[in-house]
Each structure stands twice: as C-alpha cells, then as structure tokens.
C-alpha cells in the first residue's frame, strides 16, 4: 500500500498511508471510532476504491486477490427472522471458489463442517442463524471466513459484542490460526491485543506502526500508549 488516500464525499477518511504487511504476521489495528479502520479493511477487500495511491494484495489488485482473503465483518446487519441455517451461512464462505451454476458439493460440506469444528460449533450447524447468541454468531462468521482456507484473515472488531470469556476463546482461536495464515485484526481491546499480535498499528486518518520490540518494552502501558498516539497524529 503506498500513499493511499480515501475520501468519501469531502471527508478524508484515510490520508496518505504507506505500509505493508508480511506473510505470517498478526497485525492489530487500533484507533478511535471514525479513524478509518473499517474503511481500511474495505480497501484491502476492494470494496472501496482509493481516491489516490495504490494498493496491492498478494501483488495483485484487491479484486483479484479477494479469493485468498477471509473476512469477518464487524456486525452482521441481518434480519433475525431470515430463514437460513448456520451450515448454509458457513457454506457461503465457499462461494468465491465455486463457479456460477455449480452447487455446493460433498467437499464443501466437509470443509464447512471442519470450519465449524475449529470454532467449536460443530453441534449447532442445523440451527437457524437468528437464534444464535452474540458469541455464537461471531464464531459462525469466523467459520465462514475460514472455510475458504484464506491466506489472509481480516477481522473487524470480532470481540465487540461478546462477554470476557468468549473474548478469550476468540483470542485463543486466533493464536492457533496465526500459524497458518496472516491476520489483520481491528479492535478496541487495546489492553489484551499486545499479548497476541506481532505488530500494532494506530489508525486515525494517518497511521503509526509499532514494531514488536517497541511493544515489549512498554508492555504494561499498552493501554496508555493508545491515547498518546492520537495526540501525536494530530500534531505531527
């Protein structure tokens, strides 16, 4: 990503970002609401075109690389009455690998089963999505992102609406996943992520990277660094 800027209407959401992420990394992105975190993910997914600058994902245009990305959206705005089962929703993660006019086959179902097992929801596959709890819903969305066997996993505040215990479960899950894929996590859990991620980025229109060494030196002040960064951005 180089000199990337995004403006929606006249509001500048992301200003002149240049950064890259290496394979196998676990990057945490923190920043205030409206700081452009979700927009950044949308740019990586190719849902949002940059106003200027360029972005390459796996060396290609985002629209081309999408198939290799798993995406866990912030919230699922859906109708609780929507007649769809957990299994069918997870199968949607296979959509990008299937052509038009094809159906989900035995292999797809096995992969969905496996992904649901990974997030500990194997027993709930026949449940209707509307009846799931917040934590189950979140894990189902992770399973949907995993079922496509992504090389890059993007998560947008996966722990925003779950209790502390579920939060730990989700972080344990991410810890086990990082061996096999690159992870970019957008979150407000400023206190917890420093123990899990390899790098932290602060995003508030501009971006500041923090290398691993830097993090360990001030590990206790993980919570404290955050407001300081915002001030730095405002007065560069």
């Amino acid at each position: 990503m180089s000199n990337l800027s995004v403006a929606i209407g006249r509001t500048k959401i992301l200003d002149n970002l240049s950064w890259s992420i290496c394979a196998g990394e676990f990057l945490g992105i923190i920043g205030p609401n409206g700081g452009g975190k979700t927009t950044l993910l949308r740019v990586i997914l190719g849902l949002q075109k940059p106003t200027s600058g360029s972005i390459r994902v796996f060396g290609d245009d985002p629209a081309v690389s999408r198939k290799r990305i798993g995406y866990v959206p912030q919230q699922l705005f859906f109708d609780r009455d929507f007649p769809v089962t957990v299994n069918e929703t997870v199968l949607m993660g296979r959509l990008s690998s299937k052509g038009l006019l094809t159906r989900y086959g035995r292999e797809d179902r096995a992969m969905a089963e496996h992904a649901l097992g990974t997030v500990g929801m194997a027993g709930l596959k026949k449940r209707q999505v509307g009846g799931l709890s917040g934590g189950e819903l979140q894990r189902m969305l992770i399973a949907r992102a995993l079922v496509g066997r992504p090389e890059l996993l993007l998560l947008d505040e996966p722990t925003a609406s779950v209790d502390p215990e579920m939060k730990t479960t989700i972080y344990d899950l991410l810890d086990s996943l990082r061996k096999s894929m690159t992870i970019v996590l957008v979150t407000h859990d400023t206190g917890t992520i420093s123990q899990h991620v390899s790098r932290i980025a602060c995003l508030n229109c501009g971006m500041a990277m923090h290398e691993p060494g830097e993090m360990t030196k001030e590990d206790i002040s993980g919570m404290y660094r955050y407001p300081v960064d915002i001030v730095e951005h405002r007065h560069p």
Partner: protein, 269 residues
C-alpha cells in the same frame, strides 16, 4: 365443488392458480426476505403501461406486459442503485408514470377497452388456454433461473457485502431478481390483477417464514399456502358470486392476521 370442475374455464382457472402459486412462492420468498415489497408493487403498477400499449397495438395485453414490466424493473433498479435518486422516489416515479402511459394508450385506442378491469383486479375465470401456456413457460423460466443462481441469490439476500467480497456481481444479480419479479407479476396479473399482486407476493411467504428453517423450505411452504389461498378464494367467490381476485386477497389477508395473532399467543414465542 366437484361438478364445477367439469367446466373448461374452471379447469383453466385451477391450473392457472396452481401454476401462478409456484412463481409466487419462489419469488415472493425473495421479496419478503429482501424486503422489496414496495419495489414489487412499483413494478406491478408500472406494468399497467404495458397493458395499455398491448391494447393500442391490438395484441394480447400480456405480450405488452412482459417487455414493459421488465423495462420498469430495470429502470427502478438502475435509477435507485446507480444514481443518487432515493429508492422510494424511483419507485414512485415509475409507479405513476407506468400507469399514466397505460391510461393514455387505452384512451387512444378506439372503442371501449373490454376486460380492462380483469387486468387491474384479476379475473381468473376468463384465462384462455393461450395465456395458460404462457404462464407455464414463465414458470419454467423463473424456476430454472432461481435453481441456477440459488446460492448466489441466498448470499446476496442474506449479506450483500459478503456476497460482493466473494466475487458475486450483486448489482447484476439484483437486476436479475427484479426482472424475475416482473415476470412473476405477469403470471399473477391474471389471478389477482396488478393492483393486488403485491399482497399475493408478500402474504404467503411472510406466513411461511415463521415456520421455515431455510429459504428452500420457505419457498415450498409459500407455494403451498399460495395455492391454498387462491383455490379457497376461488371457491368462495363461486359460492358468494363475488370477484375472484378480491376474494383470494381477502382469504390471504385473514390467514395472515390469524397467523400473526396466533404466533403471539402465550406458549408460542
């Protein structure tokens, strides 16, 4: 009940009812889960322009209806998604403009427009064989398209952004869906007329959704319910000698209220 089935017009009516119910259940399910009932109403009313043009040209009004309703479906879809026009504004504009075109062309047609009323409010008892074949063709087409794009339609209805990320052209798919709605309107016009199409597209699926675990079950169930409503409406209109289209809608509306109230009673949440 049995003896009236001996009349050919009654056989045609029953066949048209059942055939229309298939399209109605399948497409109506999408209308309800995607909450595009108002768009469907707009497409249906705009389609009146096609009927007027059909009259003016002296062809079967259903033939005028097909291209015109497809045109208004695409118009509403493109205007609301590709320009800054709000969706309800686009719907309102097409809704009224289509009807205006219809009124003008019927006025230009010399003489009195016979069975105009049957297109507005439906009259299933006058369905000729030729229309029946057209309904069969449209039914087959609608079901085939839905079967072919089932997983894409499901993903788009449930989570449009994710479908887009998965490489589905959601805009194109949405326009296809609107076109299918337009064709379903054509099928249903004979049964309940363009004014009341919207009720038949939404009521059976809305009831079916309460009892369905997934979209496929919902489609099946709403087709069955739709058949049930239209046949019993037809039968009641025979007994009380009233307009069949209106009777069908009344039966559906009563069932809808009963289902909504029944679901709220204690013990069933």
């Amino acid at each position: 009940m049995v003896e009236i089935l001996r009349y050919e017009f009654m056989q045609n009516a029953v066949a048209a009812t059942v055939l229309a119910s298939i399209a109605c259940g399948v497409i109506g399910s999408y209308v309800v889960v995607k909450k595009i009932g108002f768009i469907s109403g707009g497409i249906a009313h705009a389609a009146f322009g096609g009927i007027g043009i059909g009259y003016y040209l002296g062809v079967n009004p259903l033939l005028g209806l097909i291209p015109f309703s497809l045109f208004s479906a695409l118009g509403i879809g493109l205007l609301s998604k590709k320009t800054k026009v709000a969706e309800d504004t686009a719907i309102g504009a097409f809704w009224a403009a289509g009807m205006a075109v219809g009124v003008i062309f019927i006025g230009l047609t010399p003489g009195y427009a016979p069975n105009l009323f049957s297109y507005l409010f439906g009259n299933i008892l006058t369905v000729p064989r030729a229309d029946l074949y057209m309904i069969v063709g449209l039914d087959l087409f609608i079901v085939t398209v839905v079967f072919a794009f089932y997983k894409e339609f499901l993903a788009m209805s449930f989570d449009e952004e994710y479908a887009e990320v998965s490489g589905v052209n959601t805009m194109l798919l949405y326009l296809i869906l609107l076109c299918l709605i337009a064709l379903t309107v054509v099928v249903l016009v004979r049964v309940v007329g363009i004014v009341m199409v919207i009720a038949l597209l939404t009521i059976p699926p809305a009831i079916a959704r309460k009892f369905s675990r997934n979209l496929f079950v919902m489609m099946l169930l709403s087709s069955v319910l739709c058949t049930l409503f239209t046949l019993s409406g037809l039968w009641l209109s025979y007994i009380f000698d009233t307009a069949s289209g209106a009777m069908i809608i009344l039966v559906a509306a009563v069932a809808f209220m009963a289902a909504s109230v029944g679901k709220r009673l204690p013990g069933r949440t």
